[in-house]
């Protein structure tokens, strides 16, 4: 199912729920995200039972509180709801959640990415920008985007952990965008 197709189906279900108030529609939507919600729970809570509880609590929250919110983009809203719930559990345990509290706006996320790879077509500019990146970021970006290698392959080749590879790619991508924008403004 493509992103567009999936988004349309979600929109149809949301519209059906809003017009009928049948919670089965919300249930269908939720069920299609159970695995991802459980994964998010595992990432933050690092415990299977705690992650399962957090998913159930998020289900309940969505079923009882959905009508109080103006939700237009269900997936982003559900992710934020689950993540915030996990962070709240961590804060109650006295864990510092500051490193996790980065807000992602999905539309902005996709637009930024599209813009970046539109600029990728200008290969000379991309090449110049790549050379300005720090060495590790540059290598990770080259292996990932140009040689189409997986995190695991890059980690093995560069003797890094998977987390480090992912972090270099994410930061490299962000820096690449900044450098390309700066270069374009100078032109």
């Amino acid at each position: 199912m493509s992103f567009q197709q999936r988004h349309m189906d979600e929109q149809e279900l949301l519209d059906l729920y809003k017009s009928t108030k049948h919670k089965d529609y919300l249930g269908t939507l939720l069920q299609s995200y159970t695995l991802m919600l459980f994964g998010v729970g595992m990432k933050y809570l690092k415990n299977e039972e705690a992650a399962k509880d957090a998913v159930q609590q998020t289900f309940e929250k969505v079923l009882t509180e959905f009508d109080k919110h103006e939700v237009t983009y269900f997936k982003a809203w559900l992710y934020t709801t689950m993540k915030n719930h996990c962070l709240m559990i961590l804060r109650k345990k006295g864990v510092d959640t500051t490193p996790y509290e980065q807000y992602h706006d999905y539309r902005q996320y996709h637009e930024e990415d599209e813009q970046l790879w539109e600029k990728e077509r200008d290969l000379d500019l991309l090449q110049e920008a790549l050379e300005e990146l720090k060495s590790l970021q540059q290598d990770c970006i080259r292996y990932f985007y140009l040689e189409k290698r997986s995190y695991a392959e890059i980690a093995e080749m560069m003797q890094l952990s998977l987390k480090e590879v992912k972090s270099h790619i994410q930061n490299g991508k962000r820096n690449l965008k900044i450098i390309i924008e700066r270069k374009q403004n100078h032109e």
Binding site: K23, D24, V40, F59, S150
Partner: protein, 112 residues
């Protein structure tokens, strides 16, 4: 949960599970990771699922969560139906007050 089951995310779920179990080809793995970089929800989920000690249990746990969700929805439906057919207490209170007023009025007029 028979309404709109067409949104079933089976193929995406399968891909995610294959990724976590390291069953994807290098090309598929790269494509999935590229998708992860563009989607923070997918990224967090894949990272979290990779931390599950026994990945063979994941599908079973998801099934359990979905069964609980179905039961919860069914419970909410039954509660809503009960609420619909249950006469609210204020209805009886109102009737009692009106009857009392009528009796008082009758008594008042019959005396005068």
């Amino acid at each position: 949960m028979n309404k709109s089951s067409h949104i079933s995310n089976g193929s995406n779920e399968e891909k995610m599970l294959q990724y976590v179990r390291q069953e994807l080809t290098p090309e598929e793995r790269h494509a999935f990771e590229k998708e992860m970089l563009e989607d923070p929800f997918l990224d967090d989920a894949a990272e979290g699922l990779s931390g599950v000690s026994n990945t063979a249990n994941i599908a079973h746990m998801i099934q359990e969560l979905n069964e609980d969700l179905k039961k919860n929805l069914q419970k909410k439906k039954t509660q809503a139906r009960h609420r619909k057919f249950q006469t609210p207490p204020f209805f009886f209170i109102t009737i009692a007050i009106v009857l009392l007023l009528i009796i008082l009025l009758i008594l008042f007029f019959s005396r005068s």
